[in-house]
Amino acid sequence: MASSERRKLCATLLLSGVVSISSYILVFTHQEWVTRNFTRGGVYAMLPLATAFYFALVHGTFTSGLLHMLGLRAATKGAADRGQAGDASREKVQQ
């Protein structure tokens, strides 16, 4: 991995890690308020849904970066990075 790429990855990992941990601390230090308001039902349903989505983005970015830093990367990295579809999957149809 090039050093500039590695630096960028480290920064993303650090930032998403800090945001993720801070968010977890924020929720768990305000448990009572959170559980009371997030289970009101009706339109308040947006609160747990949006929170779950937010954590998926932040924590997902962190775990993705962590696996990448640990050297755990997909075998078809080139295709993956370009967002190209249908390499492994197409073998079957051509039979």
Partner: protein, 441 residues
């Protein structure tokens, strides 16, 4: 990535909100009531209960089985009502929010990790593993289902997107199957309610266990046999005769599914979606029929089927999450803890799928399905005894319960060991010989 994921989330949320009648009609009526118990009168065996969102309290009689001295006053509870001699009585009370101890906290993250690894690798396994595990940790069943459902859609979104980037997930096929799966969920809920009304809780549990055993045993055996044939090397991966026949159907609308490399009539995907939804409502494991359905009935590869199932799981998860959140049953603390583990597990497993061959996924799925089937089969004599259809001593009940629990633990451990082992082995092989890293090679 964030922009794309946000767009998918918004579209999915609008879709789910427009299709869940609960949003328009307020809190769904068929969910158990929650609220606060203001006081308990042990003499008259009644409680003063104030339902959530209502200002006025009501007095409710307690069933004989409820111990009045154990009822906590002032905290939020879930109340289970039953009809006894034409009168509505309180048959059960459970505290809604568990106290999070360090042990429970770590256990929930681990449960999430295991569920995430299974979902990422075989496209299923989150709910059917996580909900019973959460209930074993002392979380009320309805909160465990709701909190798990709320974690399912973001997890499936992250995992599905990851596998889409690896060129494995067919978004279009997943969304089409997801549409009919929602109808299947509704049908499944109605079937469940009818069984509950006819045979009670034990009858409903027996039906669930028998459904588990029948589905998992039949599909699991076939999937494992297919994996064994491919592993032996005598047979090449080829489209089944059923799938070839299905692909010839041209009833409009016909759609092209680019990642799967198929051109199918939308109608032929409906049975797969309906069966997935039915199983989600019944045993919370739509992928166990959705994945084999996509492979053997539609003709996708195992890798595409498991990845596409994550897209379907996102649609169904979002639909279910809206339903439970509108009812106010999601304990976000539990959702976030299992999400912490499952996001790591699902991404690790997604990477793992790029190193393994088709039969490894089938093999993992088959093993997990058969051991879970054994776990549920051990429950059947216990439930038959509860219905007084079979005599069973209390010692035997304990032994069957123990077998059921340990079989589930064995299913989880072996599936995770296979996923972990196959991924690490694939990576090491790729390091030694770069050409061998590609599963297509």
């Amino acid at each position: 990535m964030i922009t794309r994921l946000s767009a998918i989330f918004t579209a999915g949320l609008l879709f789910a909100a427009s299709s869940v009648p609960a949003v328009a009609g307020g809190v769904p009526k068929d969910l158990p009531p929650t609220g606060i118990i203001n006081s308990v009168d042990p003499q008259t065996r009644t409680i003063v209960f104030r339902p959530q969102g209502v200002d006025t309290a009501m007095t409710l009689p307690l069933a004989e089985s409820v111990d009045a001295s154990c009822i906590s006053v002032g905290s939020r509870v879930i109340v289970r009502m039953e009809q006894r001699d034409g009168l509505a009585v309180v048959a059960g009370i459970s505290t809604m929010f568990v106290t999070l101890t360090p042990v429970l906290l770590i256990a929930l993250v681990l449960v999430g990790l295991v569920g995430g690894m299974l979902s990422g690798f075989i496209g299923s396994g989150g709910a059917f593993v996580m909900t019973p595990s959460m209930m074993s940790l002392g979380i009320p069943g309805v909160v465990a289902i709701a909190s798990n459902m709320c974690h399912k859609f973001p997890k499936a979104l992250v995992g599905g997107y990851k596998r889409y980037r690896y060129g494995q997930a067919d978004l279009k096929l997943g969304l089409v199957i997801g549409g009919s799966a929602i109808v299947g969920v509704q049908v499944g809920i109605r079937v469940q309610k009818a069984i509950l009304a006819a045979w009670g809780q034990a009858g409903s549990d027996l039906y669930l266990s028998l459904a588990y055993v029948a589905v998992l045993l039949s599909f699991g055996t076939y999937v494992l046999f297919d994996a064994w044939r491919l592993w032996r090397g005598g047979v090449e991966v080829k489209t089944s005769a059923l799938a070839l026949a299905v692909q010839k159907v041209r009833i409009p609308p016909v759609m092209e599914f680019p990642v799967a490399g198929l051109k199918l009539s939308v109608w032929v995907t409906v049975p797969v979606g309906l069966a997935s939804g039915l199983l989600v409502a019944t045993i919370a494991a739509g992928g166990l029929v959705g994945v084999p359905g996509s492979i053997y009935a539609l003709g996708t590869t195992a890798i595409v089927a498991t990845a596409t199932q994550l897209v379907t799981a996102f649609v169904m998860g979002l639909y279910g999450a809206v339903y439970w959140a509108v009812g106010g049953f999601v304990d976000i603390r539990l959702t976030l803890l299992i999400l912490a583990g499952s996001l790591l597990g699902i991404q690790f497993a997604a990477i793992g799928t790029t190193y393994v061959k088709d039969y490894t996924i089938k093999y993992t799925m088959g093993v997990a399905m058969l051991i879970v089937a054994a776990s549920r089969a051990a429950k059947v004599p216990v439930l038959l005894a509860e219905l007084h259809w079979m005599p069973l001593s209390s010692g035997a009940v304990d032994r069957f319960e123990s077998v059921s629990f340990w079989a589930l633990i064995a299913a989880l451990s072996s599936a995770c060991a296979i996923v972990f082992g196959a991924t690490i082995q694939g990576m090491l092989r790729a390091k030694r010989n770069p050409c061998a890293c590609d599963p297509k090679a």
